[in-house]
């Protein structure tokens, strides 16, 4: 079996200063609608799971069944790319390290999340390394929510990856080159990655690398079906 980390989209971080997001920090994956944000985010989740780290996937829009089926679809492609023989066992192993928390019909609030994470840690000894948060409406959420998430990241000693929807028609970019909807929030995020679909393929681009002034010229080309890095 091939090594997942060789095809992980997070290879984008190979040239970054810390090589990873790191505990206590927030990271965001930005893309326009339909480019494959959720799939790419799930690959980021797989990057952590293949490192045998525990992960909580938080969905603000989809039911757990839907999220699980997203994971299954992506895993199917991973299985093919990695030439996995014991697919069933690997999946069972990864499933053990992932819990999905879904907040349907605007049930989400930070206190509720904090309580649920506390339950996971205290009641079942599930100590996550990463939170994957899908479905946050960035313009709607406001700065307070992300500051709250930063508090959670520090309190529970974990990293948090978000997905953010960008729009073709909103071209606002701040002085550091960060586009909408992260242009007013970039100080809260340690890593900002953009997923772009062009005629020549699907690419990941690093827009912010922790406190580094100079962004490494890193770009990774992804397979448009599996969203895995092309070697």
């Amino acid at each position: 079996m091939k090594d997942f980390l060789k095809v992980s989209p997070l290879r984008i971080l190979e040239r970054s200063t810390h090589k990873e997001l790191g505990k206590g920090n927030l990271g965001v994956l930005m893309a326009r609608a339909g480019v494959g944000k959720t799939s790419c985010l799930i690959n980021i989740a797989f990057d952590r799971l293949f490192r045998e780290e525990k992960l909580v996937h938080i969905s603000l829009k989809d039911t757990p069944e839907k999220v699980t089926s997203h994971y299954h679809v992506i895993f199917y492609y991973i299985g093919k790319v990695l030439d996995m023989e014991n697919e069933y066992e690997v999946r069972a192993l990864l499933d053990r390290n992932r819990i999905i928390l879904a907040y349907l019909k605007e049930s989400f609030d930070l206190n509720r999340l904090r309580k649920n994470l506390k339950n996971l840690v205290e009641e079942i000894d599930f100590i996550p390394y990463t939170l994957i948060v899908d479905g946050v409406d960035f313009p709607e959420a406001g700065r307070d929510m992300f500051e709250g998430f930063r508090g959670i990241a520090k309190e529970f000693d974990l990293e948090v990856w978000f997905s953010a929807l960008s729009h073709r028609h909103i071209t606002e970019v701040n002085e550091r080159g960060i586009p909408f909807p992260c242009n007013n929030l970039d100080d809260l995020f340690s890593l900002i990655i953009q997923l772009d679909s062009t005629q020549s393929g699907v690419f990941l681009r690093l827009l912010k690398d922790h406190d580094s002034e100079r962004i490494p010229d890193a770009m990774v080309r992804l397979d448009p079906n599996s969203f895995l890095a092309m070697e």
Binding site: T63, R96, I99, L101, Y103, L104, K105, N119
Partner: protein, 690 residues
Amino acid sequence: MVDDIQYLRNIGISAHIDSGKTTLTERILYYTKRIFAVHEVKGKDGVGAKMDSMDLEKERGITISSAATYCEWKGHKINIIDTPGHVDFTIEVERSLKVLDGAILVLCAVGGVQSQSITVDRQMNRYKVPRVAFVNKCDRAGANPYRVLDQLRQRLNHNAILMQIPIGLEGSFSGVIDLVSMKAIYFEGAFGEEVKTGEIPSPLLHETVAKREEMLDAASMFSDELMQAILDDSVTEELIHKAVRKGTISRQITPVFIGSAYKNMGVQPVLDAVTHYLPSPAEVENSALDMDNGEKMVSLSSDPDDPLVALAFKLEVTKYGQLSYLRIYQGAIARGDNLVNTRDRKKIKVGRLLRMHADEMEDISRAGAGDIVALFGVNCFSGDTFTDGRLNYSMSSIFVPEPVISLSISPKDNRSDTNVAKALKRFIREDPTFQSRVDEESGQTIISGMGELHLEIYVERMKREFGAEVETGIPQVAYRETISQRTEFNYTHKKQTGGAGQYGRVAGFMEPSEEGVYEFINQVKGGVIPTEFIPTIDKGFRSCLKKGLVIGFPVLGMRITVNDGQHHVVDSSERAFFQAAVGAFKQAYLKAKPLILEPIMRVSVECPSEFQGSVMSSINQRRGLIMSSAEDGVFATVEAEVPLAEMFGYATTLRSLTQGKAEFTMEFSRYSKVPESLAEELKLRRRERS
């Protein structure tokens, strides 16, 4: 016989336990004049609802076995199968879904889409059953049909469309507004039998217009004609019905109706919806397997003049003999006809042909394609296919889950001893998920089924219906064994004890099979084992699978390849090769690193959010794996996988943990390897027994 199949509907009523489906059925029977008084499920009059014909059902207020009934509504003939809501009885739900063309999904306006609704919905998807939804109990405190609509969309992924909106809710629920006719509908008379229409109350006018627009938007996706009419402002009721019907039958729309069956409100419009939106048998594609043509899949026609194909989907043994419920897919059955059972090719003569009305019956002389009837005195099993002999078709078998739990029973006295045997014989015929066997070692009778409640009901039925009192043992998990590595065998069975000897050698290998089923591969070349002995070798290996050598439970997932052997012209026989296979199995099995497997259940717990932590902890303590938790308002649904062995008594634990505010369902998910410590314990128990 139904004159025109277009006016026939075969529907089921399925839902979570206590959503009020039996009450809804009771009202339907009342409005269609099949009964002349209304009795509640747990009514004070002690009569019980019509569809709950078993004493036990009346007592517990839950429906245990499906009862079929027939009624007529506005020129349509409707066969209704009432189905159980508890997950332990899902074989009943599965069986009825197989023969149904459509269903009413009953949801509680307070509880919403609960775990069992999700299970039932999954089953309906498996059988491609179009449905209409009925949001019941809108008169209850906390009723919110809009929340249920959202849940239908979010949790069940339905394109759910409101066809009505409520006039008031909870205590002030007084009727509905029909978004098709744009009229208010009220239900008057002692039991809501008088349907009165009126103008839309002005405070609701704005909301009605908005909701109608939403409905039209969704419906117009299925009809260009309707889309054009919307643009021309010339929408008719007929155009809407046609479009919604198309969307519903293709399962791309779920029309949603609201009411309160208990308060006699909203039932008649649901009956109208059944006739308007659910398909007739002619609009449903059914297929069978042609047994004379390598089990090739063939389409059935729903033409009463074609050769007969019918499926026995439910059996009941009454005091007058066996009653077999049949769905006729093609052709017709008349009293006096000869039918052929595809399974054993035996002929039977149709004596009494009946249309069922819960536990009452009506004699009829003929029934045609699409209809559901019952035959008296026909000796068959559930799932058997009947033809008129011109075809040798079998309906694809109904999915039957493996039993996961067993219980030893011992009769309390001699009288009970005889009656237990009779009862078991009957139950096995009625229910393929119920099994019984005699344990060779202990001599005890072991019954197996789908859950504690499932077996409990049968034990109770033995007592009530057969006068057989039994003592029960502790519920036992249905463990399985499998192997984990390829191992070769080469075994010679040789016996010379005077007279003809026995000689047979088989060689090959056993290996794990990913599909989880037993496979036998013959790779013998050059006639070293004569062809006529190969099936016997297969049979020999099969006989060993019934009882693994580690803890004596059945063996799953093994592929046997025989590639060499030897025979003797005089001493080789079927018996010798059978024994050689048994010897080969014993030789290789323990070297193939056998594992013990246990059933893992998919458990879903619904609880108020504040109990999420304790629920997770209780699952964790039971070797459970938490998969997810979904928060929806003030409720949380925790999904987990838990070994069945750890689930005994969970209902009591959960009740005390959550002050009785949580409930759970579980269904079989898969088999998984038991932890080493438990494997050792099971082996020790086995050694102590023998």
